[in-house]
Symmetry: C2
Subunit: 205 residues, 2 copies
């Protein structure tokens, strides 16, 4: 594939397309169209065609997309045709829920280790993991070659944790702490903050 | 304020600006600039000025923004200068975490009732709530006049739950189930799915 710069907003829609496809397969479908996919997702068919065309030709005019093939192609584009080990920092309500979450399998992601700074939690069992001391983040994550992490700590320590993760080699951080993180340019951060999503909707009420 | 149509992408940035401001007040700051806010958030100063100018004049050229005043104005714009009662459907890991979450206070949001369909959970205590039967969604939510809800159920029932919520008068849904919902045009949905956020980043790895 030629190395062209794809707008991040387009990249951001690919996981949404990908999520819809296995569901169609479950319904014993084999082929879909940009129209059908668009109706399911509330995205225009033209947008979907334009997005996908940035990466190549995945369907034939008039015959639609092979669902299986399209899913496999999107997995390759997003690099989730392999499994990424992830570290979770912070074993509160969210950290525990994430450690137990079954929804990552088949989506190219897997929690591999979890950390907390609380002496009462370190070395205890949480789901199938033994909680590690956050003091060992740098060494443990570097040694395991982990590049993806989730921060589920209180806001006050999230920036400090992010810096530890970055120094350990992490390049992608999903941050559940309700605070903006400052990271080097070669590191990506995504945010999950329910209040942010909710306030975006209360505007319209 | 004149009723002009503001792009949703602009609306979506306001909660991010708003989140940063109380933190500055904690640091005993009184005034900020689009430059400073931009540096904290990784958004350009020009973008922030342009976004805010859509809603009026909040600062004076050269003197910056009064943090307190700007926060209050954004709260009014987003309608979170009041408190919105919310319903949570699904008392699994995520639903329980949300019910216990302390981060909604001071952000204009409050969990008011929680529902589950599991007879083993109905009528039990979860945080400070007695779990209600999902069969009573329509009546309970309508009676309380609740317009905001969170879905934290398994994917299989999320669409059905969404339809119940909409028929009860809900106009804004935050959906944690990893599935796209189909709702009427006057209802807003936002999605939280960690795998979607993570796959958007693995693209760059």
């Amino acid at each position: 594939m030629p190395e062209k710069i794809i707008p991040d907003i387009v990249v951001g829609r690919l996981p949404i397309y990908l999520r819809a496809l296995p569901r169609m397969l479950e319904e014993k479908r084999r082929v879909t169209s940009s129209q059908e996919l668009g109706e399911r997702l509330g995205i225009s068919a033209a947008q979907i065609r334009k997005d996908l065309s940035q990466f190549g030709e995945f369907g034939k005019q008039g015959t639609g997309y092979s669902i299986d093939y399209l899913a496999e192609q999107i997995r390759q584009i997003l690099h989730v045709d392999r499994v990424w080990d992830m570290a979770v920092v912070g074993v509160g309500d969210i950290g525990s829920a994430v450690a137990r979450y079954q929804g990552f399998s088949h989506r190219g992601l897997r929690v591999a280790m979890i950390f907390d700074s609380d002496p009462a939690k370190i070395a205890t069992q949480e789901s199938s993991f033994t909680v590690k001391d956050t003091k060992t983040i740098k060494e443990s994550i570097h040694e395991a070659g982990i590049q993806v992490a989730m921060i589920a700590t209180p806001s006050q320590v999230a920036q400090e944790v992010a810096e530890e993760l970055v120094s350990a080699g992490v390049k992608a951080i999903l941050n559940y702490a309700p605070i903006n993180l400052t990271v080097p340019e070669n590191v990506r951060v995504q945010y999950i903050d329910p209040a942010i999503h909710l306030q975006r909707m209360t505007y319209y009420l």
